[in-house]
């Protein structure tokens, strides 16, 4: 999705083709679930499968419509997206989940998220931002967990208080 294509000339819009394909798959998944639900006996005029069936049909039509538009509008030139900075931000978000899964606690995990995002936007060093972010998030943890009774995940740092 980030390759720079030649100016809008020949061929269909590949990106929107992929979207149309994804919609078709989603339609199948929703439709399959509706079919599964229709087999279950419920004591109401309309079962749980009716509405999903309508949506599945709508998705199928939209997959078709998107594919048609992709062909008709042709390949579009879209500005090139930069993979490196995006990878930093995504790495920040995934890293936060991983760190939380290993019990690092809110401050450390979210400090990493802050540092990685800042790095993605071109501001380093990662270490300095990590420390500043962790301290900031520790303060946030204290305010929100103690003041507003939100259950944020605790780690070694948070257990100190």
């Amino acid at each position: 999705m980030s390759d720079s294509r030649p100016t809008s000339t020949a061929g269909p819009d590949k990106g929107r083709f992929v979207i149309a394909f994804a919609l078709a798959i989603l339609s199948l998944v929703v439709g399959w679930d509706a079919w599964r639900l229709s087999g279950i006996n419920t004591y109401s005029a309309v079962g749980p499968g009716a509405f999903p069936a309508i949506i599945s049909a709508g998705l199928a039509l939209l997959a078709l419509a998107n594919a048609v538009e992709a062909v008709r509008e042709g390949a579009q030139e879209r500005p090139r997206d930069e993979i490196g900075p995006m990878a930093w931000v995504l790495g920040g978000l995934i890293g936060q989940i991983v760190l939380l899964a290993f019990g690092a606690g809110f401050a450390i995990a979210t400090g990493w998220l802050f540092a990685a995002t800042a790095k993605g936007f071109g501001r380093g060093p990662v270490w300095g931002h990590f420390l500043a972010g962790a301290v900031l998030c520790f303060v946030i943890y204290v305010v929100f967990a103690k003041g507003l009774q939100l259950a944020l995940p605790a780690g070694p740092l948070e257990r100190l208080i």
Partner: protein, 503 residues
């Protein structure tokens, strides 16, 4: 006279010191977050929703209303000084406002936006108070099939009004509807589309989806754009006060903008941006110095800003009286009501009159506070604009994950945030509108409920859906919204002017 008695007791609720404090916190937070580039009121409310759910319902709803109005004010500041509208309804403001700021007239531009928003907000809130009881009286007689038709109308107008093509709008809507299916079906107790993941049984949280689409998706788009998206802040030079001529040129556009914005916002057709475009076109035609348009004409700021705020108040009419959100922000406000177990609609006026009227009264107070606070504090808001982007977006992601974790401390929820964030990025990249996804998620289950209720009453006869005159009228309007642009194209040979995206 009942309306005034009810509004009077609402004022008493809103004037309680604790509620005044909530309103104050709301407008300050709303303005501060709204000023930040790229963040509109929808994301502002979504970010702050999970943080408030331990608070008192009346207080936090008053706070949301403050955030909503504050976010609108903040958005106009960002578009005037930075030329990056935080929401689509400020796009038109940016056209003339940013030109004025570049010409060193940023102060008067901000002032006419603020005072115009106050005038429009006040008149439109009066309109809301006057109209709401009538709509409630009508809505009481609606059957489930009428409600279903009403929601179909909201679906079609939301998809047709947002985005660059009806196909794209409907695609976004159906993505939202599909997400709305996930979880346990309340009538039959069956789990749908949850693939035996326990976290999915409760369904997708509106706030998680909104925060992901707006905050994560936006961050990914901006970071991917790299140096493409560099911004210049225009310093506010000179006086922030308007001179006599500015006043003379502003007051009529304020009123005209209000009378364009409120009715359009109040229709279940939604969208605050259409009246801003209309107002801009109207002012351009009426202006005595048309040459100034495009180079910073004050009328081009005054009119659209008033229209924008009047429409924002108008959107509250279908939201409060029918439970029908017609913008992303309204959808999230509806989620705010639901988080306290309340459903906006005609019944809420009967069961919680203090809350509803307190909320409406607090809109007047929030408006007044914004007028008093905004101009003197403009220096503070400008400094917020100057936060370096690495820290700004780092902070946005910290708060996005904080809100999600605060509402539900589960890693699956964070994973969904990431996946929906990527979805938001793809949608933005290929020009699909965001708002219909959020509206679809929240209205999907509600419309299914009405559909099944209608069919249960008729013992499964689908013809019941097309028998009431109200429902038939609403379907006709939906068809017009969907096929109107096509009809326009066939009749005139030109493409219909379709609205912009977001909020």
């Amino acid at each position: 006279m009942d309306t005034f008695a009810a509004l009077g007791s609402g004022v008493m609720v809103a004037l309680q010191p604790i509620n005044l404090l909530f309103a104050f916190v709301g407008v300050m937070l709303g303005t501060a977050v709204g000023v930040l580039p790229g963040i509109g009121p929808a994301l502002t409310v979504a970010l702050l929703l999970p943080i408030t759910f331990k608070l008192d319902p009346a207080g936090s709803l008053i706070m949301f209303a403050g955030i909503y109005y504050g976010g609108m004010y903040g958005g106009s500041t960002a578009s005037i000084l930075l030329n990056t509208p935080g929401e689509s309804s400020s796009i038109v403001t940016a056209l003339e406002g940013n030109k004025m700021a570049r010409a060193g007239r940023g102060g008067p531009a901000l002032a006419t936006a603020a005072i115009g928003s106050f005038v429009a907000g006040t008149i439109a809130t009066i309109g809301l108070a006057l109209i709401a009881p009538t709509v409630v009286d009508i809505a009481i007689s609606f059957g489930p099939e009428d409600y279903f038709a009403l929601m179909v109308l909201a679906f079609t107008t939301v998809s047709a009004a947002f985005g660059s093509s009806v196909t794209r709008g409907l695609t976004s809507l159906f993505l939202g509807l599909s997400l709305g299916l996930i979880g346990i079906d309340l009538q039959s107790g069956q789990a749908r589309l949850s693939f035996s993941v326990p976290d999915l049984l409760d369904g997708v949280e509106v706030t998680t989806l909104a925060v992901a689409l707006f905050a994560i998706g936006e961050t990914l788009s901006v970071v991917a754009a790299g140096a493409r998206a560099d911004e210049i802040i225009e310093p506010v030079k000179g006086s922030v006060f308007m001179n006599r001529e500015d006043w003379k040129r502003s007051w009529k556009p304020w009123l005209r903008g209000t009378f364009l914005g409120f009715p359009i916002g109040a229709m279940p057709a939604g969208g605050a941006e259409i009246p801003t475009f209309l107002s801009y076109a109207l002012e351009k035609r009426l202006c005595k110095k048309p040459g100034e348009f495009g180079n910073g004409a004050i009328e081009g700021v005054a009119g659209p800003e008033a229209a924008n705020n009047a429409a924002a108040a108008g959107v509250l009419v279908p939201l409060l009286t029918l439970g029908l959100p017609t913008s992303a922000t309204a959808a999230i406000m509806l989620a705010g009501f639901q988080q306290y177990g309340m459903n906006p609609g005609p019944l809420l006026f009967a069961t919680n009159p203090d809350l509803v009227w307190g909320l409406i009264a607090s809109l007047f107070i929030a408006n007044g506070m914004l007028l008093v606070l905004n101009l003197p504090l403009v220096g503070l808001w400008v400094r917020l604009l100057a936060i370096p982007r690495p820290w700004l977006y780092g902070g946005i992601l910290v708060f996005a994950t904080l809100g999600t974790l605060g509402a539900n401390p589960s890693l699956v929820e964070l994973g969904m945030l990431l996946i929906f964030g990527l979805l938001g990025y793809v949608l933005r990249r290929y020009d699909y509108p965001i708002a219909p996804v959020v509206v679809g998620l929240i209205l999907g289950p509600l419309s299914e409920q009405q559909l099944r209720r209608a069919l249960a009453i008729s013992v499964g006869d689908p013809l019941v859906l097309f028998q009431s005159p109200v429902a038939l009228t609403l379907y006709a309007l939906s068809a017009l919204a969907l096929f109107g642009p096509l009809l326009f194209y066939i009749l005139t040979g030109r493409k219909a002017p379709v609205g912009a995206d977001e909020d």
